[in-house]
């Protein structure tokens, strides 16, 4: 019977590493399920942050444990990955969120509370007639 590379790890490294990997990937799965299951755009913004916070962190911790043992020195490259994730995710999330908020504020979307609207809501009958000719002019 041959042993694989992973079987050479002692249990006290393998167990915590496996635990962190499972936690991280479970959070990633839940984040994905949330993204698919939630209905409103703003709710959907929240689900992926599960992946980019502790989902990624747990997988990185597992990776540090395994490779520090396997490479017989402390491997902390993962720290760099973590810092970059932490610093860059807000940029995309804020950009997408702000774009959606701006669109909904201008359009007076029903997803927003009324005091956040930028314009007074137009009377329902007049709105489509006034909006259509402008669209054609584009």
């Amino acid at each position: 019977m041959s042993t694989t590379y992973l079987e050479t790890f002692p249990w006290w490294i393998a167990l915590p590493a496996a635990f962190f990997m499972v936690v991280g990937s479970t959070l990633a799965l839940l984040g994905t399920i949330g993204l698919w299951q939630l209905k409103s755009f703003y709710d959907r913004l929240h689900a992926p942050t599960l992946v980019s916070s502790w989902g990624a962190a747990a997988i990185l911790i597992g990776s540090v444990l395994l490779f520090s043992w396997g490479g017989s020195r402390l491997v902390i490259h993962e720290l760099v990955i973590g810092v970059f994730l932490l610093v860059t995710t807000p940029i995309t999330l804020m950009m997408v969120g702000r774009a959606a908020l701006y669109r909904d504020r201008v359009a007076g979307s029903r997803e927003l509370p009324e005091h956040l609207h930028l314009h007074e809501p137009a009377p329902p009958e007049a709105a489509p007639a006034a909006a259509l000719p402008e669209r054609k002019a584009d």
Binding site: G34, L45, H46, A47, T49, L50, W54, L79, V80, V87
Partner: protein
Amino acid sequence: MIRLIPHPLLSLALVFMWLLLTSFSLGHLVLGAMLGLVIGWIFRLLEPERPKLRRIWPLVKLSGIVALDILRSNIAVARLILTRGRHGKRRSEFLEVPLELKDPHALALLAMIVTATPGTAWLSHDMDSGILILHVFDLVEEDDWRTLIHNRYETLLMEAFG
């Protein structure tokens, strides 16, 4: 000194990162230091305003608090997704929070904290009025969130950035 190393923290972090990604040797230390310096100069052209960091201890304290908060809200949001939003009782809401923070660097940090925490999303901030619009995934009590952001994060950031 300020002309030579306009962003000492940034340059130091870059050297540290360079040594992490390569293996430590004198050559790499020199190369990393050069990179750190040059990127520091470039960064001064992009961002003339230097961060006015007064004290470092509040930031250390803040990062501990934030790490715990992120862990806690990870569990909360994961549970909400599993139970389909407490079986339909979850109420997500827009929330306006008046902020006293004016320093752009402190605001950027706050934005990172709010975004990295599952359950709160930073949507928009108006520099003139200082009003921040948040989206909260599971709103229980509006004022709880306001005091949380104010007492837990804003006060420490104000201490750090003066």
